[in-house]
Amino acid sequence: MNMEPEYKPRKWRVLGTTPVRRDGIDKVTGQAKFGDDVHLPDMLHGKVVRSPHPHARIKRIDISKAMALPGVKAVITGADFPPLNQAVVAAGEGGSVSMQDIADNCIAKHTVFYDGHAVAAVAAENPHVAEEAAALVEVEYEILPFIQDVREAVKDGAVVLHDDYVPGAFLFPTQKALPNAGRLQLAAGDVEQGFKEADIVVEREFTTATVHQGYIESHITTCRWDSDQHLTVWTSTQGAFAIRDFLASILNLQLSQIRVIPMEIGGGFGGKDVVYLDPLAAMLAKKTGRPVKMAMTRAEVLKATGPSSGTYCRVKIGCKKDGTLVAADLYLLFEAGAYPGGPIAPGALCALTRYNIPNVVIDGYDVMLNKPKIKPYRAPGATQANFVVETVIDELAEKCGLDAIDFRLKNATVAGDRLIIGMPVPPIGTVEMLQAVKKHPHYTAPLGGPNRGRGVAYAFWFGAGLTSSCEIHVNADGTINLATGSADLSGTRMTLAMQAAEALGVPLDDISSSVSDTDSIGYTFQSVGSRTTFATGYAIIKAAEKVIEQMKQRVAMIWETDVANVDCTVESAGVADFVDRNDPHRRLHFKQVAARMDETGGPVSADYTANPHGVGFQIAANICDVEVDPETGKVQVLRFTAFQDVGKAVHPDYVAGQMQGGAVQGLGWALSEGYWYNKDGRLANSSLLDYRMPTSLDVPMIDTVILETPNLGHPYGIRGAGEVPIVPPPAAVANAIYRAVGVRMTTLPMSPGAVLEALWAKEGKPASVKVA
């Protein structure tokens, strides 16, 4: 594969500016339509019946009382669903998805695996009647023992969730290596020898709590069947085509029978990449012959969607006294939840790969237990892995007497090095970013008080390419209709329009940018993996090139000359003028050509489906100042600066917004968020009061430093930017707490209680009484 660099820099006319997003007006006036804003005539409301037990066999479901309630139109259980028509659906780049697991997660067939697992669903005239009806569905369970601790789940004799699951290993399936776990091993060199060469070794154990993406909009879907057995679905999702594909499999339909219309989405962060309610609403709609809307309550979202892994990790890293890293040994137990397929792979890959360490063993496990099935949360698995490693790195730097950033500069992989798996590191601004951290005024600003400390952390994440489709239509007045299949999570309609404006050489205001449904655009993979601005932008640039070619043909016709004599100034001048190569005074502007499309062959349109391989990686760093109250353990974040290499910032304010939003999610992960299951295995903090996400009071302004080392795989140098921001904050906070009060935190969240216990342990005081 001869990867020619795609990057073609020029003087940008649109990229790097900060226009106001057109679709923002509907959002500030309350006119934008999100999933719950759908109201159809004759619509029914659905409600899910959920298991209160973390692990149980379903013995009997009696729907008679529910059906008898006035206003109830249908009740379904797992038995209503046909066998799947596809066992495994490809999910891009070798990843794959077990459809049976997804189907069973939507509604249990024989066994429930977590508190909140769906077992039945009802449809009624209004949501209140539906709620009453759901309470009348009688389910008899045989309660089974449950596990919710990753360490317990891999012990011999542990309760096994799935008897038919064959735990595998990356590239080498093994038989029943461990109960409830698949295994991923990465290694290089010889760790035993490596540790012998180390002058300083730090070894620590960590536990991190399960956390949720916390999108403010819950999951909502509305399904309606047309009389010709065609299903329309209105839903808020990161991937309309994924919803369509999963529904086709679960309902045993053809792909062409389903149309998914993506509504505006109120947050996803990776958690809205799969079906939950959609198959249930579709089945209820089929049974009743009426449209059915279903919405999750907040408690259902927390209990029964896809949080990010809690973990148990052991980290041992060794370096020479001059700071050169020589060996690392990681044991990582990452929760997979009720079904296999958690983020151990990306977590393990991102744990160490930003450093050159010649001798490495990473022993990673994808562990099933009685919690909801784990789903991506921004950079899946990376935050957990980064926390456990960056805090140990910090400790090593201190023991070597080296500045924290200098230690990282000494060991960081740069272009020309190889990642742990052997992949060469492409050009990325690692050195520039770490030096920017050191040079930043925040790095040396006075802390200004006792119990204050400053910590840094450095992070790496991949990013995805995958398939995106777009269409560009030139209107007779020269304006442009741009349509893509990419759900717009936070303003990509604008950043994609900006790339189109740049590529076509037309004013940004002339472009109408929209998100199409699955009937109206070519296949487009989900808006995940920081791929939208990169991959969909790539498709748009290619489509724009086709448009320019067609316009050139029209000009050639108008001038009655050969198309080889027609130049377009879009790349040299940023605007699309068409010039006669032999007579520079003969020019036509884009709009003038558009006005004559009709007489020269009709409208000009182009579509493009791209699967660009040249994904740039992502790097980020944080400087964080905290103040710790030694009496309460409360940690206040005083100042926070986020650094990131984004390749090319299309809309710098949107890039900053990604950095700030991800940073604050990371701060919540660091300080206050975590699932708490009680002794019966039920989620005790299933409300936003007790699942404590940051408020405006909890965080300061987040300063951002945007760096740009172009990604050579994209014509404009763009790398994904949306995910890496969530990776370094917990480590940065932990490293700051150490410098503030001298304790190394090894648990997340670093809640006041956790910090207090660490302080007491340091002072030799007895630990508090643990509440069971």
């Binding site: 594969m1 001869n2 990867m3 495994v88 999910a91 891009g92 780049e93 070798g94 990843g95 794959s96 595998g168 290993a169 990356f170 590239l171 080498f172 991923l184 091993q185 990465l186 290694a187 290089a188 993406q213 962060f269 990776g270 958690g271 990449d273 983020p343 792979a345 990306p346 393990a348 890959l349 063993v361 789903k375 991506p376 949360y377 921004r378 950079a379 899946p380 798996i421 052997g422 992949m423 060469p424 492409p426 991949f462 990013g463 995805a464 390419g465 995958l466 398939t467 995940v528 993996g529 920081s530 791929r531 699967n611 391989h613 040249g614 994904v615 795989g713 995910e723």
Partner: protein, 88 residues
Amino acid sequence: MASVWIPATMQHLTGGEAVVQASGSTVRELVNRLDEVYPGLKAAIAQDDGRLRPGVAVAVDGYITSLGLFQRIAERSDVQFVPAIGGG
């Protein structure tokens, strides 16, 4: 000859070699050729139906390819088998 990085868990098949050489115009040909020299390698990477095992991706010359075993490779390509990763 293309260079192929062998993950540590498979190095017992290659007598401990971390990087091996082979030629082929596609990744599939490469894997077939390597399997002739190091039996068992192909079974670790591909399923019986000839597709990549779920959870496995292929990187060629620094980029993960969407074409898997169909990916064409150049004279001196650089190939790694990596765990498939997702995003959020």
